[in-house]
Amino acid sequence: MTENPSKAVWRPESMTQLKEGNDVSAESEEDAPKKKSLFQRMKDGLSRSTRTITDGITGIFTRKKLDQETLDELEDLLIQADLGVDVAADITRTLKRDRFDKEISDEEVKSFLAGEIAKILKPVEKPFAPDPAHRPFVTLVVGVNGSGKTTTIGKLAKALKAEGKSVLLAAGDTFRAAAIDQLKVWGERIGAPVVSTRVGGDAAGLAYEAVERGRAENHDVVLIDTAGRLQNKTDLMAELEKVLRVIRKLDPTAPHATLLVLDATTGQNALNQVEIFGKIAGVTGLVMTKLDGTARGGILVAIAKRFAMPVHMIGVGEGADDLQVFDAEAFSRAITGAR
């Protein structure tokens, strides 16, 4: 991980646990008996999710010459991890170029793959770092329906608070039934105030009010939830643009971050999501949720290749602590099952 001590980089407690062997802080030690370490949970989730691919690799390579058939099967495995046809072909081609017709073990293949994937992901690995120069640091959270926006806001707010930052939440989803209540419950759970309006109220107006209140009450960060929307709905995307416009009336530099929340089970459509939300909402970074299931989130590799969009964090469960800093190497190893 690139550490930049001169800059205030947000690093949730969980991150320290992500790296094996790191000291576990006293604070999280109390949790330890109750639950598995977060690293273990992520590994469980991801390794379960990658069991097929891992088993596949193990099955294919029991120390034999790397032939075309094997390469084809390998490409298939990558496709099944949602890396997409092109990326899968690229990686396989590299392997072929370097190792064709040579004896190779499954372990070597795994680490080769992990290495190739990490090469692609490393440049986009960027922790979420609210810049203290902007106060409040206005963060808009966007994404398609059900991707995990509201939950991520709850988790992120908790992590920021743990760092001693004051956080204001804005219930900008005025459309979906009970979305406001959902965020309010999170606010109570983690002890953060919530700005809200009535259901059916003006989302842009609410965002404006939140930024205003963030200033007045001197909060460090304002996290604005938005209604889920499919990126091909032009009217809904126009509404999102309006939210941005209205916020900028108050602070032309805001929002200082726009997070796109992607569901790890999503396939190739995530590319469209990044492209269109990126264009319209000026997305500055990604969060990938639901990596505790069996989905491998391989689409992130294709996204990194095509858009070079920073990836900040990953969601590994529904609880308030189930958020981790994105670690390109750990992610790549988890995808391929490499040690």
Partner: protein, 512 residues
């Protein structure tokens, strides 16, 4: 949902059609492309493989070799296999959701987090209440996600469907029991159980789900899945199926621009039928799933074969030849236009024709955007029939007075007449040009009409027809019908049987 996949397959097929004979290599190449298109559409890899195998075996075998237009035949095979993969042809009389059980009939909704269970619950309840006139009770068993129960309560209010009162502190199994009890006591016909989202590897939650099933004995267990799901879709479907005998799949967010591969995979892998499609956030955005229709949408064709048949039935070949000749000479009068219009109407109108052509989903969308419908054809036909013979032969003589008379006679506006005349002029120019060897056909005509239809497409610049590049662009924006003869390829509808005069009659193709 399927537009992108449609486009990809359209490209593949346009290479196949218009060829006399297909070699094994041609088929192989096409199938590689199909494989890629399907994978990019998130169809699960094992499903893609078996699909390609099946199509190949059939395509390389007798079926194709013996047929008149092999390319067309391959498309037909792909279509048939798609229908098969999606669950076979279904009968529209069969109820999508079965209520043949002891009242209250329990229906249980399951799925991953964020897949759309709660919204789908309300949609189905609403539809049952409206269509089957049954009394429905909805209950949320989601005690995990904050405000999930509240969400269903609000949806109940919006749809006028009763919801089980929320009792804090109860667990899902307790709520389920209470829901069935309340259903019985309250004289409800259906009790819908909305459950919390869960990953299929969360053992505790999967066990809880099975327990809910055991205490409620649901008549239908519907797995709600997001159509944007990737390769994992099949794992999810398989695991849920293994754990609690899912009876049907509901596919949500079909209104997204995903390629819908999950739909193709899940049925194929589990054998569980896809029952309903969620097509929007509104509570009435729910559609029956019909395999043929979806397969047609995927290929961008209803049924090419039936188009060919219908065209043969409705088109008077002699008349067509006559018009074609006139067109080539650049004589295309309003009578000819009228004939073209009525031909289109006979073939099922614009939509009818469009829906039968492969690879034109985009054009369809543009037409929908432009609000172009068959009313336009009707009105245009009415305008022409209000003209005198002389006017139809020589539209130049139409002055303001004549136009007013025609407008009154046809119940239209002078502006519409002007538009029609403009369209005719442009078409005549285009056709004249094509007589010299351009490309086009029905596509061009539709392009014109879309242009007229109400601002969906930019108005054609006046000098346009003189500019071949602009013409091509126009054709492209009209959907670029594959097989409608690009340079070097025979024109006409893709794979129309040989001897068909230049594709759709009167719509000239490149001279042989």
């Amino acid at each position: 949902m399927f537009e992108n996949l449609t486009g990809r397959l359209g490209d593949v097929f346009s290479k196949l059609t218009g060829r006399g004979a297909l070699s094994e290599k041609d088929v192989d190449e096409a199938m590689r492309e199909v494989r890629r298109a399907l994978l990019e559409a998130d169809v699960a890899l094992p499903v893609v493989k078996s699909f390609i195998d099946k199509v190949k075996t059939r395509a390389i075998g007798h079926e194709v070799v013996k047929s008149v237009s092999p390319g067309q035949q391959v498309i037909k095979i792909v279509h048939d296999e798609l229908v098969e993969m999606l669950g076979g042809a279904s009968s529209p009389d069969e109820p999508v959701i079965s209520l043949q059980a002891v009242r209250p009939v329990p229906i249980m909704m399951v799925g991953l987090q964020g897949s759309g269970k709660t919204t789908s619950t309300a949609k189905i309840a609403r539809r049952l209440a409206e269509r089957e006139k049954v009394k429905v009770l909805m209950a949320s068993l989601d005690t995990r996600r904050p405000a999930a129960q509240e969400q269903l309560r609000v949806l109940g209010e919006q749809t006028g469907i009763a919801t089980l009162p929320i009792v804090a502190g109860q667990n899902p199994v307790q709520i389920a029991r209470r829901a069935i009890e309340a259903g019985r006591l309250g004289g409800y016909d259906v009790v819908m159980l909305d459950t919390a989202g869960r990953t299929h590897i969360d053992e505790a939650l999967m066990a809880e789900m099975a327990e809910v099933r055991d205490v409620t004995n649901p008549h239908e267990i519907l797995l709600v899945t997001d159509s944007l799901t990737g390769q994992d879709a099949v794992n999810v479907a398989r695991q849920f199926k293994e754990r609690i005998d899912v009876t049907g799949i509901i596919l949500t967010r079909v209104d997204g621009d995903g390629r819908g591969g999950a739909a193709l995979s899940m049925r194929a892998v589990t054998g569980v039928p896809i029952k309903l499609l969620g097509t929007g956030e509104k509570l009435d955005a729910l559609e029956d799933f019909r395999a043929e229709r979806v397969a047609g949408r995927i290929l961008g064709m209803g049924d090419v074969v039936s188009l060919v048949e219908r065209a043969a039935e409705t088109i008077d070949a002699e008349k067509a030849n006559r018009i074609a000749k006139k067109m080539k000479k650049g004589e295309f009068d309003l009578d000819d236009l009228s004939e073209q219009l009525s031909q289109m109407a006979r073939m099922g109108g614009i939509k009818g024709v469009m829906s039968m052509l492969p690879g034109i989903a985009k054009a369809q969308k543009q037409m929908a955007d432009a609000n172009l419908d068959d009313k336009v054809i009707k009105r245009q036909t009415a305008i022409i029939s209000s003209m005198t013979k002389i006017e139809r032969r020589n539209p130049k003589i139409l002055d303001a007075r004549r136009k007013r008379r025609i407008a009154a006679g046809s119940g239209t506006e002078v502006s519409e007449i002007n538009k029609l005349l403009k369209m005719h002029r442009q078409m005549a120019d285009v056709l004249k040009m094509m007589g010299k060897g351009g490309r086009g056909g029905l596509a061009g005509m539709l392009g014109k009409m879309v242009g007229m239809g109400g601002g969906g497409m930019p108005e054609m610049p006046a000098g346009m027809p003189g500019d071949p590049k602009a013409l091509q662009d126009m054709m492209k924006s009209a959907g670029g019908f594959p097989g409608l003869g690009g340079p070097g390829k025979p024109g006409g509808l893709p794979g129309l049987p040989k001897g068909f005069p230049g594709g759709l009659p009167g719509l000239p193709s490149k001279k042989k």
